[in-house]
Symmetry: C2
């Protein structure tokens, strides 16, 4: 069923966009789309386990996203909490990264702001929750090692490794603040379909494309 | 000749990739490709003037690129110097941004590390020369405003504004360290053709695509 790949990414970033557009297309209210993003996330998680992908980062929601109407905000906050609760019954080493000193951060997720392992430690899952690129990078400025250029050691998301491949659903070709430091050399693949319409084929097509990219890191 | 666009980007980032691959395809040595990247840059500059695009940033070379063989390094350094010398006879307000305290930075370009205006001030042209994303961001860490989150005010490239559209030639779908802060919400368009094979159509197709993108900035 799953093809053999000659080279797989070690770390994949997932931008699961299009939940609201999907809901509107179905004649539903915008906020009802977020809940439909959970099952696709676990379908993708299962594929990653099967392929042996060591690390996956999901874009939950950002500081900028919290400017949306309150009913939408509550819906995407709840979807993140529900996803973590389901994951707690699976195998994963989970880290939730975001500004957890803000009231926009769901308090149910506070225990996961240091990495917690559930079941077998088969895969690292990082979840960006109330994440802000400014929050992430400016964290470096308040830390000690100002004399060094080892910025990556000091940013708030320092426990998240370099990303090889970013897959964005929903057709938009932008990073929208997704981990700017880790994404420096990431290959960027866009799926036109909306995230609630996730199919395994989207993901496998992205991996097929990725295996043929020439990785140079600027050299 | 040039179509009417309903919405144009205010600031375009250009990643002119594929010079070496182009040279190899022509049976030439890799380094001879860089010189062929200058004319396309001026063709694009003329289109931007005609359309009234206010700001364009070109990716010259990066700190990572300087790890390449010396003959290639000298060739891309020279191409950057030649491009600036030609621009000095046109209309532009030029800023060269990069680590100019390094010996990899061509000294001929030192006068342009503060913005200089040539002819009429019709367009801002920024040129990244010996640019490094780490150098850029870590600059923020050595500055004063550590208590604020106004990181953008403090990075080395603070005089370069937010980018609306990034166009990369040469088929690769990655930013390769191109201005991570300014590129947060940039739409990313990839041209399969190599940069020395630049055609006006590539650029106009990117603008046609861009005018139909929904700009939300996370809201």
């Amino acid at each position: 069923m799953i093809p053999k790949f000659k080279r797989l990414p070690k770390h994949i970033g997932i931008i699961p966009d299009g939940n609201r557009r999907w809901a509107v297309n179905q004649g539903l209210s915008k906020e009802s789309g977020y809940n439909r993003g959970i099952d696709p996330g676990f379908a993708l998680y299962e594929l990653c386990l099967e392929l042996g992908i060591p690390e996956v980062t999901f874009y939950g929601f950002t500081v900028d996203n919290t400017k949306r109407p309150a009913i939408q905000k509550r819906a995407f906050q709840k979807a993140c909490v529900d996803a973590v609760n389901i994951l707690a019954n699976r195998d994963a080493s989970l880290l939730v990264i975001g500004n957890h000193e803000s009231p926009q951060f769901p308090e149910e997720l506070l225990p996961y702001t240091t990495r917690k392992t559930f079941g077998g430690d088969r895969i690292k899952i990082n979840f960006l929750v109330n994440y802000g690129w400014k929050w992430d990078l400016s964290h470096a400025m308040t830390n000690k090692a100002k004399e060094t250029c080892l910025l990556h050691e000091e940013i708030a998301s320092k426990d998240i490794s370099r990303i090889d491949l970013i897959i964005r659903w929903g057709g938009r070709r932008r990073l929208s603040g997704f981990l700017p430091v880790q994404s420096i050399y990431a290959d960027f693949y866009v799926v036109e379909d909306l995230w609630p319409d996730f199919q395994a084929k989207h993901f496998l097509d992205a991996l097929s494309w990725y295996q043929n990219q020439d990785i140079t890191l600027g050299g």
